[in-house]
Symmetry: C2
DNA sequence: GACAAACGCGAGTGGTCGCTCGCATTCTGA
DNA sequence: TCAGAATGCGAGCGACCACTCGCGTTTGTC
Protein backbone atom coordinates (compact mmCIF):
# COMPACT_ATOMS: atom_id res chain seq x y z
CA UNK A 1 0.00 0.00 0.00
CA UNK A 2 2.99 2.28 -0.08
CA UNK A 3 3.49 2.97 -3.75
CA UNK A 4 0.06 3.80 -5.11
CA UNK A 5 0.38 7.21 -6.70
CA UNK A 6 -3.24 8.20 -6.79
CA UNK A 7 -3.22 10.41 -9.87
CA UNK A 8 -0.96 11.90 -12.48
CA UNK A 9 2.47 12.96 -11.41
CA UNK A 10 2.32 16.56 -12.67
CA UNK A 11 4.63 16.71 -15.66
CA UNK A 12 7.43 19.18 -15.48
CA UNK A 13 6.26 22.27 -17.38
CA UNK A 14 8.30 24.86 -19.15
CA UNK A 15 7.29 28.50 -19.23
CA UNK A 16 6.07 27.95 -22.80
CA UNK A 17 3.74 25.23 -21.56
CA UNK A 18 2.21 27.45 -18.91
CA UNK A 19 1.62 30.10 -21.55
CA UNK A 20 -0.05 27.56 -23.82
CA UNK A 21 -2.29 26.44 -20.97
CA UNK A 22 -3.41 30.01 -20.28
CA UNK A 23 -3.95 30.53 -24.01
CA UNK A 24 -6.01 27.36 -24.29
CA UNK A 25 -8.11 28.22 -21.26
CA UNK A 26 -8.84 31.65 -22.65
CA UNK A 27 -9.87 30.10 -25.96
CA UNK A 28 -12.00 27.56 -24.11
CA UNK A 29 -13.68 30.35 -22.15
CA UNK A 30 -14.53 32.10 -25.39
CA UNK A 31 -15.90 28.97 -27.07
CA UNK A 32 -17.82 27.75 -24.01
CA UNK A 33 -19.29 31.21 -23.69
CA UNK A 34 -20.68 31.30 -27.20
CA UNK A 35 -21.67 27.66 -27.76
CA UNK A 36 -21.95 26.10 -24.33
CA UNK A 37 -19.95 23.16 -23.03
CA UNK A 38 -21.41 20.23 -24.97
CA UNK A 39 -21.56 21.94 -28.35
CA UNK A 40 -18.00 23.21 -27.97
CA UNK A 41 -15.58 20.95 -29.83
CA UNK A 42 -12.02 20.47 -28.67
CA UNK A 43 -10.89 21.12 -32.23
CA UNK A 44 -12.67 24.47 -32.14
CA UNK A 45 -10.92 25.35 -28.88
CA UNK A 46 -7.55 24.40 -30.33
CA UNK A 47 -8.28 26.40 -33.50
CA UNK A 48 -9.35 29.42 -31.43
CA UNK A 49 -6.07 29.15 -29.55
CA UNK A 50 -4.15 28.78 -32.80
CA UNK A 51 -2.73 25.35 -32.00
CA UNK A 52 -3.32 21.80 -33.18
CA UNK A 53 -5.64 19.30 -31.45
CA UNK A 54 -2.62 17.26 -30.47
CA UNK A 55 -1.11 20.22 -28.65
CA UNK A 56 -4.31 20.70 -26.69
CA UNK A 57 -4.14 17.11 -25.47
CA UNK A 58 -0.56 17.66 -24.41
CA UNK A 59 -1.90 19.75 -21.54
CA UNK A 60 -5.38 18.39 -20.85
CA UNK A 61 -6.29 14.69 -20.64
CA UNK A 62 -9.78 15.27 -22.02
CA UNK A 63 -12.43 17.84 -22.74
CA UNK A 64 -13.92 17.72 -19.26
CA UNK A 65 -10.57 18.55 -17.68
CA UNK A 66 -10.51 21.82 -19.62
CA UNK A 67 -13.83 22.88 -18.16
CA UNK A 68 -12.79 21.71 -14.70
CA UNK A 69 -9.56 23.68 -14.75
CA UNK A 70 -11.31 26.74 -16.15
CA UNK A 71 -13.99 26.47 -13.49
CA UNK A 72 -11.41 26.07 -10.76
CA UNK A 73 -9.51 29.16 -11.89
CA UNK A 74 -12.71 31.21 -12.14
CA UNK A 75 -13.77 30.11 -8.69
CA UNK A 76 -10.34 30.96 -7.34
CA UNK A 77 -10.39 34.36 -8.98
CA UNK A 78 -13.81 35.00 -7.53
CA UNK A 79 -12.74 34.18 -4.00
CA UNK A 80 -9.54 36.17 -4.46
CA UNK A 81 -11.38 39.23 -5.72
CA UNK A 82 -14.17 39.32 -3.20
CA UNK A 83 -12.93 37.18 -0.37
CA UNK A 84 -15.95 35.93 1.45
CA UNK A 85 -18.08 38.60 -0.17
CA UNK A 86 -21.22 37.69 1.65
CA UNK A 87 -19.62 37.03 4.99
CA UNK A 88 -18.57 40.62 5.58
CA UNK A 89 -22.15 41.76 6.03
CA UNK A 90 -23.29 41.81 9.62
CA UNK A 91 -26.91 42.10 10.73
CA UNK A 92 -26.30 45.62 12.00
CA UNK A 93 -26.19 46.94 8.45
CA UNK A 94 -29.58 47.58 6.89
CA UNK A 95 -30.97 44.93 4.58
CA UNK A 96 -30.96 47.36 1.70
CA UNK A 97 -27.24 47.92 1.92
CA UNK A 98 -26.53 44.22 2.30
CA UNK A 99 -28.42 43.48 -0.92
CA UNK A 100 -26.78 46.40 -2.68
CA UNK A 101 -23.28 45.20 -1.85
CA UNK A 102 -23.82 41.54 -2.57
CA UNK A 103 -25.64 42.08 -5.85
CA UNK A 104 -23.14 44.64 -7.10
CA UNK A 105 -20.20 42.39 -6.41
CA UNK A 106 -21.60 39.30 -8.02
CA UNK A 107 -22.99 41.17 -11.00
CA UNK A 108 -19.64 42.82 -11.58
CA UNK A 109 -17.84 39.50 -11.55
CA UNK A 110 -20.32 37.84 -13.87
CA UNK A 111 -20.14 40.72 -16.34
CA UNK A 112 -16.36 40.60 -16.35
CA UNK A 113 -16.26 36.81 -16.71
CA UNK A 114 -19.35 35.80 -18.66
CA UNK A 115 -17.94 32.31 -19.15
CA UNK A 116 -18.60 31.71 -15.46
CA UNK A 117 -22.33 31.95 -16.06
CA UNK A 118 -22.07 29.88 -19.25
CA UNK A 119 -20.24 27.09 -17.41
CA UNK A 120 -22.24 27.15 -14.21
CA UNK A 121 -25.75 27.75 -15.38
CA UNK A 122 -25.33 26.06 -18.72
CA UNK A 123 -27.72 23.19 -19.19
CA UNK A 124 -25.13 20.64 -20.21
CA UNK A 125 -22.73 19.62 -17.52
CA UNK A 126 -20.90 16.29 -17.38
CA UNK A 127 -20.19 14.55 -14.09
CA UNK A 128 -17.56 16.60 -12.31
CA UNK A 129 -18.84 19.93 -13.56
CA UNK A 130 -22.36 19.24 -12.35
CA UNK A 131 -20.83 18.28 -9.02
CA UNK A 132 -18.90 21.54 -8.85
CA UNK A 133 -22.02 23.43 -9.77
CA UNK A 134 -24.05 21.71 -7.09
CA UNK A 135 -21.31 22.29 -4.54
CA UNK A 136 -21.18 25.99 -5.36
CA UNK A 137 -24.94 26.26 -5.20
CA UNK A 138 -25.07 24.50 -1.86
CA UNK A 139 -22.36 26.81 -0.52
CA UNK A 140 -24.23 29.88 -1.67
CA UNK A 141 -27.51 28.64 -0.24
CA UNK A 142 -25.84 27.98 3.10
CA UNK A 143 -24.21 31.43 3.07
CA UNK A 144 -27.46 33.15 2.22
CA UNK A 145 -29.21 31.11 4.88
CA UNK A 146 -26.86 32.27 7.62
CA UNK A 147 -27.21 35.84 6.39
CA UNK A 148 -30.97 35.57 6.39
CA UNK A 149 -30.99 34.08 9.85
CA UNK A 150 -29.51 37.35 11.05
CA UNK A 151 -32.30 39.32 9.50
CA UNK A 152 -35.10 36.85 10.23
CA UNK A 153 -34.18 35.44 13.64
CA UNK A 154 -37.60 33.95 14.38
CA UNK A 155 -38.23 32.23 11.08
CA UNK A 156 -38.03 28.43 11.25
CA UNK A 157 -35.08 26.84 9.45
CA UNK A 158 -36.99 25.14 6.61
CA UNK A 159 -38.58 28.47 5.71
CA UNK A 160 -35.20 30.19 5.72
CA UNK A 161 -33.87 27.50 3.44
CA UNK A 162 -36.73 28.04 1.03
CA UNK A 163 -36.31 31.80 1.09
CA UNK A 164 -32.60 31.42 0.36
CA UNK A 165 -33.36 29.21 -2.62
CA UNK A 166 -35.86 31.74 -3.90
CA UNK A 167 -33.35 34.56 -3.51
CA UNK A 168 -30.76 32.69 -5.53
CA UNK A 169 -33.34 31.88 -8.20
CA UNK A 170 -34.25 35.54 -8.42
CA UNK A 171 -30.59 36.48 -8.63
CA UNK A 172 -29.98 34.01 -11.45
CA UNK A 173 -32.98 35.27 -13.40
CA UNK A 174 -31.89 38.87 -12.87
CA UNK A 175 -28.35 38.05 -13.92
CA UNK A 176 -29.61 36.64 -17.20
CA UNK A 177 -31.49 39.85 -17.90
CA UNK A 178 -28.53 41.98 -16.88
CA UNK A 179 -26.11 40.07 -19.11
CA UNK A 180 -28.54 40.41 -22.02
CA UNK A 181 -28.39 44.20 -21.93
CA UNK A 182 -25.81 46.95 -22.13
CA UNK A 183 -25.07 50.31 -20.62
CA UNK A 184 -27.91 52.23 -19.07
CA UNK A 185 -30.43 49.47 -19.73
CA UNK A 186 -28.18 47.03 -17.91
CA UNK A 187 -27.98 49.36 -14.93
CA UNK A 188 -31.75 49.63 -14.89
CA UNK A 189 -32.09 45.86 -14.69
CA UNK A 190 -29.56 45.74 -11.86
CA UNK A 191 -31.73 48.20 -9.98
CA UNK A 192 -34.85 46.13 -10.66
CA UNK A 193 -33.08 43.04 -9.34
CA UNK A 194 -32.20 44.85 -6.13
CA UNK A 195 -35.77 46.09 -5.80
CA UNK A 196 -37.21 42.62 -6.24
CA UNK A 197 -34.97 41.17 -3.55
CA UNK A 198 -35.50 44.05 -1.14
CA UNK A 199 -39.29 44.04 -1.49
CA UNK A 200 -39.39 40.28 -1.17
CA UNK A 201 -37.34 40.19 2.01
CA UNK A 202 -38.43 43.36 3.80
CA UNK A 203 -41.88 42.09 4.90
CA UNK A 204 -40.22 38.97 6.32
CA UNK A 205 -38.03 41.05 8.61
CA UNK A 206 -41.04 43.07 9.78
CA UNK A 207 -42.94 39.94 10.70
CA UNK A 208 -39.98 38.61 12.61
CA UNK A 209 -39.40 41.85 14.48
CA UNK A 210 -41.34 41.04 17.68
CA UNK A 211 -40.66 42.72 21.06
CA UNK B 1 -45.24 30.38 -61.54
CA UNK B 2 -48.28 28.14 -61.36
CA UNK B 3 -46.92 24.79 -60.36
CA UNK B 4 -44.46 25.46 -57.55
CA UNK B 5 -45.78 23.52 -54.58
CA UNK B 6 -43.99 25.28 -51.78
CA UNK B 7 -43.76 22.46 -49.27
CA UNK B 8 -44.67 18.85 -48.73
CA UNK B 9 -48.03 17.71 -49.92
CA UNK B 10 -49.23 16.08 -46.70
CA UNK B 11 -49.16 12.36 -47.34
CA UNK B 12 -52.36 10.52 -46.84
CA UNK B 13 -52.22 8.94 -43.39
CA UNK B 14 -53.93 5.82 -42.14
CA UNK B 15 -55.22 5.54 -38.59
CA UNK B 16 -52.21 3.41 -37.78
CA UNK B 17 -49.95 6.24 -38.91
CA UNK B 18 -51.65 8.77 -36.68
CA UNK B 19 -51.27 6.41 -33.76
CA UNK B 20 -47.57 5.99 -34.51
CA UNK B 21 -47.13 9.75 -34.67
CA UNK B 22 -48.77 10.20 -31.27
CA UNK B 23 -46.64 7.36 -29.91
CA UNK B 24 -43.47 8.87 -31.31
CA UNK B 25 -44.30 12.33 -29.96
CA UNK B 26 -44.94 10.91 -26.52
CA UNK B 27 -41.62 9.09 -26.65
CA UNK B 28 -39.93 12.27 -27.85
CA UNK B 29 -41.48 14.22 -24.99
CA UNK B 30 -40.12 11.70 -22.54
CA UNK B 31 -36.63 11.70 -24.03
CA UNK B 32 -36.45 15.49 -24.50
CA UNK B 33 -37.60 15.87 -20.91
CA UNK B 34 -34.82 13.74 -19.46
CA UNK B 35 -31.91 14.57 -21.78
CA UNK B 36 -32.81 17.83 -23.51
CA UNK B 37 -33.16 18.36 -27.23
CA UNK B 38 -29.56 18.16 -28.45
CA UNK B 39 -28.53 15.17 -26.39
CA UNK B 40 -31.66 13.27 -27.39
CA UNK B 41 -30.91 10.87 -30.24
CA UNK B 42 -33.53 9.96 -32.82
CA UNK B 43 -32.60 6.33 -32.31
CA UNK B 44 -33.37 6.70 -28.62
CA UNK B 45 -36.75 8.23 -29.42
CA UNK B 46 -37.53 5.40 -31.82
CA UNK B 47 -36.41 2.82 -29.26
CA UNK B 48 -38.54 4.48 -26.56
CA UNK B 49 -41.50 4.28 -28.93
CA UNK B 50 -40.69 0.67 -29.73
CA UNK B 51 -40.16 1.22 -33.46
CA UNK B 52 -37.18 1.28 -35.82
CA UNK B 53 -35.33 4.46 -36.86
CA UNK B 54 -36.68 4.03 -40.38
CA UNK B 55 -40.24 4.10 -39.09
CA UNK B 56 -39.58 7.34 -37.26
CA UNK B 57 -38.40 8.97 -40.48
CA UNK B 58 -41.53 7.77 -42.24
CA UNK B 59 -43.42 10.40 -40.24
CA UNK B 60 -40.88 13.13 -39.56
CA UNK B 61 -38.41 14.54 -42.10
CA UNK B 62 -35.79 15.20 -39.45
CA UNK B 63 -35.12 15.54 -35.76
CA UNK B 64 -36.04 19.21 -35.64
CA UNK B 65 -39.49 18.51 -37.08
CA UNK B 66 -40.22 16.25 -34.13
CA UNK B 67 -39.53 19.05 -31.68
CA UNK B 68 -41.45 21.53 -33.81
CA UNK B 69 -44.54 19.33 -33.99
CA UNK B 70 -44.33 18.55 -30.28
CA UNK B 71 -43.98 22.22 -29.47
CA UNK B 72 -46.90 23.11 -31.70
CA UNK B 73 -49.14 20.54 -30.04
CA UNK B 74 -48.13 21.68 -26.58
CA UNK B 75 -48.79 25.28 -27.49
CA UNK B 76 -52.15 24.35 -28.94
CA UNK B 77 -53.05 22.37 -25.86
CA UNK B 78 -52.07 25.29 -23.68
CA UNK B 79 -54.23 27.73 -25.59
CA UNK B 80 -57.07 25.23 -25.66
CA UNK B 81 -56.91 24.61 -21.93
CA UNK B 82 -56.61 28.16 -20.76
CA UNK B 83 -57.77 30.21 -23.71
CA UNK B 84 -56.18 33.58 -23.39
CA UNK B 85 -55.42 32.92 -19.75
CA UNK B 86 -53.95 36.30 -19.06
CA UNK B 87 -56.43 38.30 -21.12
CA UNK B 88 -59.39 37.53 -18.88
CA UNK B 89 -58.02 39.64 -16.05
CA UNK B 90 -59.34 43.19 -16.02
CA UNK B 91 -57.83 46.01 -13.97
CA UNK B 92 -60.86 46.03 -11.67
CA UNK B 93 -59.70 42.81 -10.03
CA UNK B 94 -57.06 43.26 -7.37
CA UNK B 95 -53.44 42.65 -8.34
CA UNK B 96 -53.18 39.83 -5.84
CA UNK B 97 -55.95 37.87 -7.49
CA UNK B 98 -54.58 38.48 -10.97
CA UNK B 99 -51.21 37.07 -9.94
CA UNK B 100 -52.88 34.17 -8.14
CA UNK B 101 -54.86 33.15 -11.21
CA UNK B 102 -52.11 33.55 -13.77
CA UNK B 103 -49.46 31.78 -11.72
CA UNK B 104 -51.76 28.90 -10.78
CA UNK B 105 -52.74 28.28 -14.37
CA UNK B 106 -49.26 28.34 -15.81
CA UNK B 107 -47.78 26.31 -12.99
CA UNK B 108 -50.46 23.68 -13.40
CA UNK B 109 -49.79 23.36 -17.10
CA UNK B 110 -46.05 23.15 -16.66
CA UNK B 111 -46.38 20.49 -13.97
CA UNK B 112 -48.66 18.45 -16.18
CA UNK B 113 -46.46 18.81 -19.24
CA UNK B 114 -42.85 19.10 -18.01
CA UNK B 115 -41.58 18.61 -21.56
CA UNK B 116 -42.86 22.09 -22.32
CA UNK B 117 -40.33 23.59 -19.95
CA UNK B 118 -37.60 21.28 -21.23
CA UNK B 119 -38.23 22.33 -24.82
CA UNK B 120 -38.78 26.01 -24.24
CA UNK B 121 -36.25 26.87 -21.58
CA UNK B 122 -33.76 24.23 -22.59
CA UNK B 123 -30.40 25.69 -23.53
CA UNK B 124 -30.08 23.99 -26.87
CA UNK B 125 -32.49 25.06 -29.53
CA UNK B 126 -31.86 24.85 -33.27
CA UNK B 127 -33.20 27.46 -35.67
CA UNK B 128 -36.95 27.07 -35.77
CA UNK B 129 -37.26 26.07 -32.13
CA UNK B 130 -35.38 29.11 -30.96
CA UNK B 131 -37.66 31.20 -33.17
CA UNK B 132 -40.74 29.63 -31.63
CA UNK B 133 -39.30 30.21 -28.20
CA UNK B 134 -38.59 33.86 -28.93
CA UNK B 135 -42.04 34.31 -30.44
CA UNK B 136 -43.69 32.83 -27.35
CA UNK B 137 -41.57 34.95 -25.08
CA UNK B 138 -42.38 38.11 -27.04
CA UNK B 139 -46.07 37.26 -26.90
CA UNK B 140 -45.95 36.76 -23.17
CA UNK B 141 -44.01 39.96 -22.62
CA UNK B 142 -46.55 41.89 -24.68
CA UNK B 143 -49.43 40.31 -22.77
CA UNK B 144 -47.89 41.07 -19.41
CA UNK B 145 -47.14 44.59 -20.58
CA UNK B 146 -50.78 45.30 -21.44
CA UNK B 147 -51.83 43.82 -18.12
CA UNK B 148 -49.33 45.93 -16.24
CA UNK B 149 -50.39 49.06 -18.09
CA UNK B 150 -53.79 48.58 -16.49
CA UNK B 151 -52.26 48.47 -13.03
CA UNK B 152 -49.56 51.08 -13.63
CA UNK B 153 -51.24 53.65 -15.90
CA UNK B 154 -48.68 56.40 -15.35
CA UNK B 155 -45.51 54.39 -15.80
CA UNK B 156 -43.63 55.12 -19.05
CA UNK B 157 -43.63 52.36 -21.65
CA UNK B 158 -39.93 51.41 -21.45
CA UNK B 159 -40.28 50.92 -17.71
CA UNK B 160 -43.34 48.75 -18.18
CA UNK B 161 -41.44 46.67 -20.69
CA UNK B 162 -38.61 46.17 -18.23
CA UNK B 163 -40.97 45.28 -15.42
CA UNK B 164 -42.69 42.72 -17.65
CA UNK B 165 -39.35 41.11 -18.49
CA UNK B 166 -38.45 40.97 -14.81
CA UNK B 167 -41.81 39.37 -13.98
CA UNK B 168 -41.28 36.66 -16.58
CA UNK B 169 -37.75 36.07 -15.34
CA UNK B 170 -39.05 35.68 -11.81
CA UNK B 171 -41.75 33.32 -13.03
CA UNK B 172 -39.24 31.16 -14.86
CA UNK B 173 -36.96 30.99 -11.83
CA UNK B 174 -39.92 30.13 -9.61
CA UNK B 175 -41.10 27.48 -12.04
CA UNK B 176 -37.72 25.78 -11.89
CA UNK B 177 -37.92 25.62 -8.11
CA UNK B 178 -41.50 24.41 -8.22
CA UNK B 179 -40.73 21.65 -10.70
CA UNK B 180 -37.79 20.55 -8.56
CA UNK B 181 -40.00 19.82 -5.57
CA UNK B 182 -43.04 17.72 -4.74
CA UNK B 183 -46.16 17.89 -2.69
CA UNK B 184 -46.29 20.34 0.20
CA UNK B 185 -42.84 21.70 -0.55
CA UNK B 186 -43.93 22.42 -4.10
CA UNK B 187 -46.98 24.29 -2.85
CA UNK B 188 -44.78 26.32 -0.56
CA UNK B 189 -42.61 27.41 -3.48
CA UNK B 190 -45.70 28.34 -5.48
CA UNK B 191 -46.72 30.59 -2.62
CA UNK B 192 -43.26 32.15 -2.46
CA UNK B 193 -43.40 32.86 -6.18
CA UNK B 194 -46.72 34.63 -5.78
CA UNK B 195 -45.36 36.61 -2.86
CA UNK B 196 -42.30 37.71 -4.81
CA UNK B 197 -44.40 38.96 -7.70
CA UNK B 198 -46.97 40.65 -5.50
CA UNK B 199 -44.41 42.43 -3.36
CA UNK B 200 -42.44 43.48 -6.41
CA UNK B 201 -45.43 44.96 -8.21
CA UNK B 202 -47.48 46.43 -5.34
CA UNK B 203 -45.23 49.45 -4.68
CA UNK B 204 -45.32 50.30 -8.37
CA UNK B 205 -49.11 50.58 -8.31
CA UNK B 206 -48.96 52.78 -5.22
CA UNK B 207 -46.53 55.17 -6.87
CA UNK B 208 -48.68 55.42 -9.95
CA UNK B 209 -51.84 56.05 -7.94
CA UNK B 210 -51.82 59.85 -7.99
CA UNK B 211 -54.97 61.96 -7.46
C1' DG C 1 27.67 20.63 -28.60
C1' DA C 2 24.92 16.64 -26.93
C1' DC C 3 21.33 14.43 -24.84
C1' DA C 4 16.73 14.12 -22.96
C1' DA C 5 12.55 15.99 -22.08
C1' DA C 6 8.93 19.13 -23.20
C1' DC C 7 6.53 20.98 -27.00
C1' DG C 8 4.11 20.86 -31.44
C1' DC C 9 1.86 18.94 -35.32
C1' DG C 10 -2.07 16.94 -38.15
C1' DA C 11 -3.55 12.81 -40.30
C1' DG C 12 -5.84 9.06 -38.47
C1' DT C 13 -8.96 5.88 -35.30
C1' DG C 14 -13.01 4.38 -33.15
C1' DG C 15 -17.48 5.63 -31.97
C1' DT C 16 -21.91 8.02 -32.25
C1' DC C 17 -25.56 10.28 -34.55
C1' DG C 18 -28.79 11.90 -38.06
C1' DC C 19 -30.64 10.02 -41.70
C1' DT C 20 -31.30 6.75 -46.08
C1' DC C 21 -32.42 2.78 -48.78
C1' DG C 22 -33.99 -1.54 -50.36
C1' DC C 23 -37.21 -4.64 -49.29
C1' DA C 24 -41.07 -6.97 -46.63
C1' DT C 25 -45.68 -6.47 -44.65
C1' DT C 26 -50.29 -4.48 -43.96
C1' DC C 27 -54.00 -1.74 -45.33
C1' DT C 28 -57.33 0.61 -48.69
C1' DG C 29 -60.38 0.85 -52.40
C1' DA C 30 -62.35 -0.95 -56.52
C1' DT D 1 -59.12 -10.48 -55.53
C1' DC D 2 -55.46 -7.52 -56.43
C1' DA D 3 -52.80 -3.29 -57.52
C1' DG D 4 -50.91 0.44 -55.20
C1' DA D 5 -50.12 3.10 -51.27
C1' DA D 6 -48.88 3.38 -46.49
C1' DT D 7 -46.33 1.30 -42.93
C1' DG D 8 -42.35 -1.11 -40.96
C1' DC D 9 -37.67 -2.69 -40.63
C1' DG D 10 -32.58 -2.45 -39.64
C1' DA D 11 -28.13 -2.50 -41.80
C1' DG D 12 -25.50 0.99 -43.41
C1' DC D 13 -23.69 5.73 -45.10
C1' DG D 14 -21.51 10.09 -44.43
C1' DA D 15 -20.30 13.49 -41.16
C1' DC D 16 -18.54 14.90 -37.00
C1' DC D 17 -16.20 14.48 -32.58
C1' DA D 18 -13.09 13.20 -28.75
C1' DC D 19 -8.90 11.61 -28.67
C1' DT D 20 -4.15 9.15 -30.29
C1' DC D 21 0.24 8.41 -32.41
C1' DG D 22 4.44 8.83 -34.75
C1' DC D 23 7.61 12.03 -35.78
C1' DG D 24 9.83 16.56 -36.12
C1' DT D 25 11.23 20.95 -33.36
C1' DT D 26 12.53 23.68 -29.37
C1' DT D 27 14.33 24.16 -24.76
C1' DG D 28 16.87 23.19 -20.48
C1' DT D 29 21.07 21.01 -18.61
C1' DC D 30 25.68 19.19 -18.43
Amino acid sequence: MSDHQEKEQPRRRQARGERRIAQLLQAAASVFCTTGYTAASTNAIAREAGVSPGTLYQFFPNKEAIAIELGDRLMHEMRETYGEALATVDPATPLEQAIETAVDRFIEFNCRRPEFFALMHGPDAPGRIAEAHDALHATLVARVETLLTGFLPDTPAPDVHRVAQVCLGIYKAGLELVLAHEGAEREAYVQELKDVLLRYLTPLTHVARTP
